[in-house]
C-alpha cells in the first residue's frame, strides 16, 4: 500500500543507532544523518553543519540537540536550526519509528 507521496524506506531496527548517537544514510544527492536521543526519539538531518559543512553525525547528542564536531555549533535536531547566536539551518527529513524499526521518507530525501 502506497501512502500518498510518501515512500517510507526501512533503515533497520532502532538498535542499529546507539542512544545519544547517529548513523548516516548515503543517497545519490546527499548524506543524511539519522539521530537517536537518550529517550529513543529519531531525527534526520542533512549531514552538513550550516556553518562549514561539518558532519553532524559525529557530534555529541544532548537532549534534542547535536554539537557539530568541527566548531561546536549547536544544531536543533527537530528543525535543523542553529541555536544561540549562530544562524543557519541544516535540512531536516521526515523519519518515523514503527514497531521498533526506523523509516526515512525517501520521497523527500532521495526523490526519483
Amino acid at each position: 500500500m502506497r501512502n500518498e507521496a510518501r515512500f517510507w524506506f526501512d533503515l533497520g531496527p532502532m538498535e542499529a543507532i546507539p542512544k545519544r548517537g547517529a548513523r548516516t544514510v548515503r543517497t545519490p544527492r546527499r548524506e543524511i544523518a539519522v539521530f537517536r536521543t537518550a529517550s529513543d526519539e529519531f531525527f534526520a538531518l542533512e549531514n552538513r553543519c550550516p556553518h562549514k559543512g561539518g558532519p553532524l553525525s559525529e557530534g555529541i547528542v544532548h537532549g534534542r540537540k547535536v554539537a557539530c564536531p568541527l566548531h561546536n555549533w549547536i544544531i536543533d535536531l527537530e528543525g535543523g536550526e542553529a541555536t544561540g547566536a549562530d544562524k543557519g539551518c541544516a535540512r531536516s527529513f521526515p523519519v518515523k519509528l514503527e514497531n521498533g524499526r526506523i523509516y526515512l521518507d525517501m520521497g523527500v530525501a532521495a526523490p526519483a
Binding site: 526519539e41 561539518g54 534534542r64 514503527e98
Partner: protein
C-alpha cells in the same frame, strides 16, 4: 425481546463497559459474561498489594456476587470460549456449550510473555498475571528461599518488592541498563534502583537470561555472561501481549491486537473488542486508564448514543510499591535545557522533571515526591499554557500565585534559625554573625570559619547569596566558576564528590550533585566521563557517546570530515619495515597527504572514515599501534639521540623516552600530555616547553613539569633531581597520576600546576615518598585496563557499525 449481549472475558475492561452500559441504558440487554478465571471481576492492578500482604482478595473485588444478581448478568465463570461462529452468531465453550448473541464483545485481555529459553516450563517458573499466580508465589514464599524476577519493569518490580516483603531473598534481572526504562528517564531509574537495592533486593541490569536451570524443578537462572543466580522461584514479568487467538481463529482482523476503529468496532459489525486485547490506531495499551476510556466509548455505542469516538490515550504510570513514590506521564524524552525544568534534592532523594514544549507541559517524571503528578498530568491533557507560572512550576500546585521572589530577598527573608548547610548543620544566624563579627568577605573565609558549604558544596550558591545580602555592595563575588551551566559546583568539587560519595555512573553523579539538566551538555558530559573513568577504572564503563568524535573513533577529524591516522613511533624511533608499511598503506588507500609531525612521527591525512578499520589492520600487521594523536591522553615522548650516538649525551635519552612512552601510553588524562627527554642540557628535544620532561645530566635526571608551547608559551619548572632511570620513570608517572586525579577537565598540566602551586606538587612527589609510591601504584593499576590498542580492537570488529553507514541508496540502472 431484549437483545442478547455476550461478553468474552471478565476482566476490568469488560466490567467497566457493563457498569457504563447499565447506567446509560438500564435493562437494554440480556447479558451473559464468560470468564476463564473461576471468580468474579476483581481489580487486577491491585494484585501487587495482595502479594505484599497489604490487601486481601476481598479488598480488590470490583463486582461481587450481588452485583451480578442485581444487574441480571449471567456470569459463566471458569468457562473458556474456544470459537465464535460468526455466521450463526453464537459462541462455543471448551465444554461444547453454545450461546447465541446479537452483539458480542471480545475482552480477552492479554497474556504474559514467556521468554522462549530452555527451562521456561519447569515447575517453579511462574508469571504475574492473575490471582492463581499470586497464590503460587505466596506458596513459594512461605518456605523462604531465593526468588529471581526476570523483568525490571512495573510488574517485575512490584513482584520483587512483594516477594521481598514476604521474606524471600530476591534478585531482579533486567535486560536494559536502567529499570523501567520505558516509563522513567535514567535519572529517576537510578534513584529507583537505589531504593530497590535499599530493600535488600539485588538488581542485575544489562543482563540477558540464557536459560532456566533445574532438574525436576527450577534451581537457578543462567545469564549470558555465564553467571548463575540460584532460585527456588522464578517470576517472568517481561511484559504482556494482547490475547488475539480467539479473534484470529474467528477471522477477525487482528495484527498485534484485535483491530478496532474509534468506536471499538472490529471488522465484524456485530462484534466489538475492548481492553488490552485491542489495537487502536496502531497502539496497544497495558494500563488501566485507556481501558476505561475505551469502555466509555463502547458503552455509548451499545446504548445507541452518538458521541465522539475514542482518540487514543496519553498514559501515566505509578509504581505500586509502598514507600517508593514514582510517577511518569506523557513524553519525557530528552528535551534541551530550555524546554525542561528539573529539580533535584539529593538529600531527600527527590527528582522532578517537567518537559515543556511551546509553554505547554508535554511530559513529567517525578520521583520521591509525586504529590503533584495529577496536577501536571491534568495540565498536560488540557494543553494549558504554563508560561506565566514557569518559574515556580516545578515547586508544584501549592506554590502558584503571588509574585516571584528575588533570590537575595528570599534568603534575606529567612529566619535566623533556617538551616543553610545541611551537611554541617549551619544556620543562617551563625553565618551572618561570622560575616559581620569576623569581617568575612569571601566564600572561602565563610567555609573556614563556619564549615558552611565546606562539605558537599551544594549550598555554595545559597551562602554566596547570603554574603551578598549581608555585605550589600561590599561583596565582590569570587572567581569561583561552576563546571558548566548544568551544575553549581566547580570541576574540582565535582571530582571530590565523585570519590567521597562513590558515584560510579553518569546518572548517579547528576542526581547526587543536583544537575539542573536531565542528561548534561557537550561540556560536562566528556568531563564527567573522564572523571568517572579516572576514579573507577575497573567499575565504570566508558560512555562513548559522551566522548568527542576523535576519541570515539580513535582518529582526528579534519575540516572535510575525513580523518588523520598517526601510528606510534616509540620515542620517535622507527624502522625500514615500519616505513614501508606506512608507505604501502598510503598507496593502497590513496592517502593524499603524508606529513612528519612535531612529535617525531608520521601523520596520514585524508583517510575516509569507512577505511579506518582496514588502514589500522594493515598498520597493525606491521606492528604499528595507535599513537593516540586524537586523545586527551599521552601523545608523544620526543627524544634526542642521547648517549647512544651524541658526543655530548650523558644518558640513554632514546631508551628512557621509549620506556616512558610504553609506561604511559593509553592513559586518559584531563588534557593532552606531551613529554620529551633530552640527553644533555643543550636540550635538543625541547623538554622545556613540554607538559613533563626529563633533561639528562651527568649525575642523573632533572624532572621538568608545566611547560607549554601553544596558545600559551611557558617554560617548565624543575620539579627535582633523581639519580636513576628507574626513579625517573616512577617520578614522572606519579606526577601524571596526581594531575589525572586532581585537574579540571581540559586544563593542561601547566594550568593545574599554576592553580594548585608548584610547591604542593613538589612536596607530594619529591618529598613524600610514600605518597609518590601510592600515586605510582594507582597509575599502574589503572593502566592495566587502559593499555590496549584501540586500533587492533576495532580492526577485529569492535564498534563495526561506527564505521559503516546505516544504509546506502544508489539509483538502480534504468531498464
Amino acid at each position: 425481546m431484549r437483545k442478547k449481549l455476550v461478553v468474552i472475558g471478565n476482566g476490568m475492561a469488560a466490567g467497566r463497559v457493563l457498569d457504563e452500559l447499565f447506567r446509560k441504558s438500564p435493562g437494554g440487554f440480556e447479558v451473559t459474561v464468560f470468564g476463564a478465571e473461576p471468580r468474579v471481576n476483581y481489580n487486577r492492578i491491585m494484585l501487587s498489594p495482595v502479594l505484599a500482604g497489604e490487601k486481601t482478595f476481598a479488598d480488590i473485588v470490583i463486582h461481587d456476587e450481588a452485583w451480578y444478581a442485581a444487574n441480571d448478568v449471567r456470569l459463566r465463570r471458569g468457562e473458556t470460549i474456544v470459537a465464535i461462529d460468526r455466521v450463526n452468531r453464537l459462541v462455543r465453550t471448551a465444554a461444547g456449550a453454545v450461546e447465541p448473541y446479537d452483539k458480542l464483545i471480545v475482552a480477552t485481555g492479554s497474556m504474559p510473555i514467556i521468554i522462549p529459553v530452555p527451562g521456561a516450563g519447569l515447575p517453579g517458573v511462574v508469571t504475574f498475571r492473575d490471582l492463581d499466580d499470586v497464590d503460587a508465589m505466596l506458596a513459594a514464599a512461605a518456605g523462604g528461599g531465593r526468588a529471581v524476577v526476570i523483568g525490571g519493569g512495573l510488574l517485575g518490580l512490584e513482584a520483587a518488592a512483594g516477594l521481598a516483603a514476604k521474606g524471600m531473598s530476591v534478585s531482579v534481572v533486567h535486560l536494559m541498563p536502567t529499570l523501567m526504562e520505558r516509563q522513567l528517564d535514567p535519572n529517576a531509574g537510578y534513584l529507583l534502583r537505589c531504593a530497590i537495592e535499599g530493600r535488600g533486593i539485588e538488581v542485575v541490569t544489562s543482563a540477558n537470561t540464557k536459560s532456566i536451570v533445574g532438574d525436576e524443578r527450577v534451581s537457578g537462572v543462567l545469564l549470558d555472561d555465564g553467571r548463575i543466580l540460584p532460585a527456588d522461584l522464578v517470576v517472568m514479568a517481561v511484559g504482556i501481549r494482547p490475547n488475539t487467538t480467539l479473534a484470529k481463529n474467528s477471522g477477525l482482523d487482528a495484527r498485534r491486537g484485535v483491530v478496532v476503529d474509534d468506536f471499538m468496532r472490529t471488522s465484524d459489525p456485530d462484534i466489538y473488542a475492548v481492553g488490552e486485547c485491542v489495537e487502536h490506531r496502531g497502539a496497544c495499551y497495558g494500563l488501566v486508564a485507556p481501558l476505561y476510556d475505551m469502555a466509555r466509548v463502547l458503552a455509548g455505542q451499545l446504548a445507541g448514543e452518538e458521541g465522539a469516538g475514542y482518540a487514543g490515550s496519553i498514559t501515566s504510570t505509578k509504581l505500586k510499591v509502598t514507600g517508593i513514590d514514582l510517577f511518569s506521564a506523557g513524553d519525557f524524552s530528552e528535551g534541551d535545557e530550555n524546554d525542561e525544568v528539573v529539580l533535584r534534592d539529593p538529600a531527600r532523594q527527590i527528582y522532578k522533571r517537567v518537559v515543556l514544549r511551546d509553554n505547554k507541559v508535554v511530559g513529567a517524571v517525578l520521583y520521591g515526591d509525586t504529590a503533584d503528578g495529577a496536577w501536571y498530568f491534568d495540565m498536560l491533557k488540557k494543553g494549558l499554557d504554563v508560561g506565566p507560572m514557569r518559574d515556580t512550576l516545578i515547586f508544584g500546585q501549592s506554590y502558584q500565585g503571588g509574585s516571584p521572589l528575588d533570590p537575595t530577598a528570599a534568603v534575606a527573608a529567612l529566619p535566623d534559625d533556617a538551616e543553610i548547610c545541611g551537611c554541617n548543620g549551619v544556620c543562617k544566624g551563625t553565618i551572618v554573625q561570622a560575616i559581620t563579627g569576623g569581617g568575612l568577605t569571601s566564600i572561602d573565609e565563610v567555609r573556614a570559619k563556619t564549615k558552611a558549604s565546606a562539605s558537599c558544596g551544594q549550598c555554595t550558591s545559597k551562602v554566596e547569596t547570603l554574603l551578598a545580602a549581608t555585605l550589600g555592595d561590599k561583596y565582590v563575588a569570587g572567581d569561583r566558576r561552576p563546571m558548566c551551566k548544568c551544575v553549581d559546583l566547580t570541576h574540582e568539587e565535582v571530582r571530590q564528590q565523585i570519590k567521597a560519595k562513590e558515584l560510579k555512573s553518569l546518572p548517579a553523579v547528576m542526581q547526587e550533585l543536583a544537575w539542573k539538566t536531565s542528561c548534561g551538555c557537550p561540556s560536562c558530559r566528556p568531563a564527567l566521563n573522564y572523571y568517572l573513568l579516572c576514579a573507577w577504572p575497573y567499575d565504570y564503563r566508558d560512555d562513548y557517546q559522551s566522548r568527542f568524535v576523535n576519541e570515539r573513533v580513535h582518529a582526528n577529524i579534519q575540516k572535510d570530515g575525513t580523518f588523520s591516522v598517526v601510528p606510534r613511533m616509540w620515542g620517535g624511533l622507527t624502522t625500514p619495515d615500519e616505513l614501508r608499511a606506512i608507505a604501502d598503506v598510503a598507496d593502497r588507500f590513496r592517502i593524499p597527504t603524508v606529513k612528519v609531525t612535531g612529535g617525531q612521527r608520521i601523520d596520514l591525512l585524508g583517510v575516509k572514515k569507512e577505511d579506518l578499520p582496514a588502514v589500522w589492520a594493515q598498520l597493525n600487521a606491521a606492528g604499528l599501534v595507535s599513537g593516540f594523536a586524537y586523545a586527551k591522553g599521552l601523545r608523544t615522548v620526543k627524544t634526542c639521540v642521547g648517549s647512544d650516538w651524541c658526543r655530548f649525551g650523558t644518558q640513554d635519552a632514546m631508551g628512557l623516552g621509549v620506556k616512558l612512552e610504553r609506561l604511559l601510553c593509553g592513559s586518559w588524562t584531563p588534557a593532552k600530555v606531551k613529554l620529551a627527554v633530552s640527553g644533555c642540557p643543550r636540550n635538543c628535544a625541547e623538554v622545556t616547553v613540554k607538559d613533563v620532561g626529563v633533561i639528562c645530566v651527568d649525575s642523573g635526571y632533572d624532572i621538568h613539569v608545566a611547560g607549554a608551547a601553544g596558545l600559551h608559551v611557558r617554560a617548565t619548572d624543575v620539579l627535582g633531581h633523581v639519580a636513576t632511570e628507574e626513579a625517573a620513570l616512577e617520578h614522572v608517572a606519579a606526577v601524571i597520576q596526581m594531575y589525572r586525579e586532581e585537574a579540571a577537565y581540559l586544563d593542561r598540566l601547566y594550568k593545574w600546576v599554576e592553580k594548585t602551586g608548584l610547591e604542593r606538587v613538589r612536596a607530594a612527589i619529591m618529598d613524600d615518598h610514600a605518597n609518590r609510591k601510592a600515586l605510582y601504584d594507582r597509575f599502574v593499576i589503572s593502566q592495566r585496563v587502559a593499555r590496549r590498542d584501540p586500533w587492533a580492537e576495532r580492526a577485529a570488529g569492535r564498534d563495526a557499525r561506527e564505521f559503516a553507514p546505516l544504509a546506502v541508496l544508489m539509483p538502480v540502472a534504468a531498464e
